[in-house]
Amino acid sequence: MGYLEDLKLVEEEMAKCMKCGNCQAVCPLYKETLREAAVARGKIQLAYAYLRGEILATHSLAEKLLFCLTCMACVANCPSGVRVDAVILAARAAMVREKGLPWLKRVIFQGLKRPWLFDTALKTGRHFQSLALRYRPEIQRCNPRFPIGLELRRVLPPLAKRTLKEEFPEVIRPVKPGARVAFFTGCLENYIYTDIGRAVVNVLLANDVEVVIPRDQHCCGIPTLVHGDIPTAREMAASNLQTFQGYKFDYLVVACATCGEAWKHFYPQLLEGAPQGEAARALAGRTRDINELLMQIDFRQPAAALPLQVTYHDPCHLVRGQGISSDPRQILRAIPGVELVEMKNADRCCGSAGSFSLTNYDMSMQVQARKVAAIRDTGAGTVVTSCPACRMQLEDGLAQAGLAPRVVHVVQVLEQAYAGQEVGSGRREVG
């Protein structure tokens, strides 16, 4: 039993909050709304009041607790070191236990946790997506044709014609393999941004690392966890863990900041006390973000120059979630010809926060606008990041601002440098 099952276990975190308000200085949502209920100390007080039974589990309370990017900027800036993210997630979970999930979420999460159903739906979807999405060849992205739960102005990547798992065999061996890694692709790199997944494989091969892509892996389950559906999240954690336990490898590698946090932090928490608890902890210790792994294996420096001016955006769940910010920059700087121009507040949230961008699109875009302005100020033509979800959000923001939506993962830049080619933002096969 962890805090996700029992709100009382984070009571000390709530009691620690001095209510000093320092979170106001860094909270992206406070900056936009100027409302106390939008900032960490307000939510902490609400969660505490709910725990003590001073306020009820109303729809309005649920909305307040869901109105958070979980970007952890407040956590990093808190004098008392309050784990605001833990309090918010625990409170959401407690409310779902008391009131249940709204029906729409229940339906979506039921689909998400059935890999074949989810897989079939997305594979079917790619054949029919042109009915719902209008392709814009000039940017290789789409706009929704109808408001199908998406804003019409939203710029989206299409589903890939072939999933990453269809594109590659299960085991991909270099000529003389050194280490062996299991690649957890996550949904975005399997179904949409297969170019990132491909770059992970190619870069690892170029470093004599053997790559296994277990067939039965599926969504990491974090979307269900952040909405408070802990039983589903646990089921998905257990299932992914079981899949990966069937393989031999040195490291489990991810190229998505949220998937990385799932394996490193959330799976051990979800499975604590369960038969798989120990295995979850052990695998957490062997999980590496691709940036981290490349630094650890002392990746081969590319010989050919890649003349490219880039700026780097820190994904929240990498920089604050996993404490990784210098690795990606070191990798970029190691590539001859790449010039890294830092943007202002590179570690500020892009506003995506997964499904937050679906439920609060206007707010998400307001937060995004500050990121786009910071990117524009650098003058760099390419934005590099380390998370496909941030990439999707940044592409949308840049395209709507009339800028080229050239957003790539660090590993794609390295792939291009190895290949001695010009980098292209998903120019091949995506869409």
Partner: protein
Amino acid sequence: MAAQEDFLRELQAILSRERLLTEPEERWCYAFDAAAAQPKHLPLAVALPQSTEEVARIMQVATRYRVPVYPRGAGTNLSGGVIPREDGLVISFVEMNKILDLDIANLTATVQPGVVIQELNDAVAPHGLIYPPDPGSVTTATMGGSVAESSGGLRGLKYGVTKDYVMGLEVVLADGTVFHCGGKTVKNVSGYDLVKLFCGSEGTLGIMTAITVRLIPAPEARRSMLAIFDRLEGAARTINGIVAHKVIPATMEIMDNVTIRTVEAYCQAGLPIEAAAVLLLEVDGIPAVVEKEAAIVEQVCRENGGRVQIARDDAERENLWTARRAALPACARLRPTTVLEDATVPRSKIPEMLLALDRIAQKYNVTVATYGHAGDGNLHPTITCDERDGAEMERVHRAVDEIFHTAIELGGTLSGEHGIGVAKQKYMELEFGASGVAVMQRIKQALDPLGILNPGKLVGPLPAKE
């Protein structure tokens, strides 16, 4: 109840639905400020006006319905000054956040009350100017809140506190009347000094809707030093010795042994844990003067047994400041509740105050870490405790009582920079006597006869006067 609904309906007509918060979950988030261990009281609603006119109309309605109003900025107050005490209306000024005028020729800025202090500094920095008051909450606190509390900061010794920079105000009175006082002129002796009266009035006399402040040229150079003392007396002699040598540093911060140990346990800043005290000093100004003053400060520190480290560049300066910056976070992480006081004594009494704080901590068996602005006598005895432990809080309250009694006995004051609010209201007679408090109450009743402006604060609850 019906009257309450009518009251809210009239407010909604002024503000629209978006800027009048009435949901209980929203109101809950305005029932507190940053003061520790204060009772919560839910307001009836939260109003978020965007103009002076809206504020005036809100006050007319509040007067008609006799509903108390609680003006609020960022809610970073440490004396409970913005916590509602009874069913009333919180007026949050965060949406009145425009810089109205930057007058470089006259070295003034005019701002709405919701402007964050740091935002003003960011706006004037390109002109080579600064707005000196820099409370710890500078990145969040609003100008309105800091003028209402007359907040201070680390540079108080040389640059003073907020009230030394306020030149003019636009004020909305309890009945909705709008008036102006002061202005942009350096010299202004016309009439009563109403600007000073409203500075630090904690929202009890009127509501400031525009504030004109003085700006000063940014110092060209600065030099930071850290001095470690094995004996408290050495640190104390240094504090007074530097001033005796005609040097007024911008910053002269002290940390006592409890603070040093706490900071070291928290972040290993490299301070010797057996040291009795550490002084962090900074001189600023014209380079030649900085050079000369830094040499004097260093010499006085050494003469009194201080081991001195001098920052040669900005990176080293950051390093020296690490320990001082860590003081509050380190203390805050010891225990769940952090009671941060600001009793202030004349500079010469700092050693006596430090010894008294030690004695009080032992007597009531509480942990007191003391750090703060030694140069201006404004110490921050910080008591770490747990609000949920009734017996412990009883001892904390008695220790706090004795801290304020001691400060007054030493010729000091209840508040150097946090204000009176509700937390220190009961000690007001100690400092002002019954007649002094009565003067303040008469001023309060003259300006707010119905007692609807932040009632219960500063001068305590007063009956309405028809």
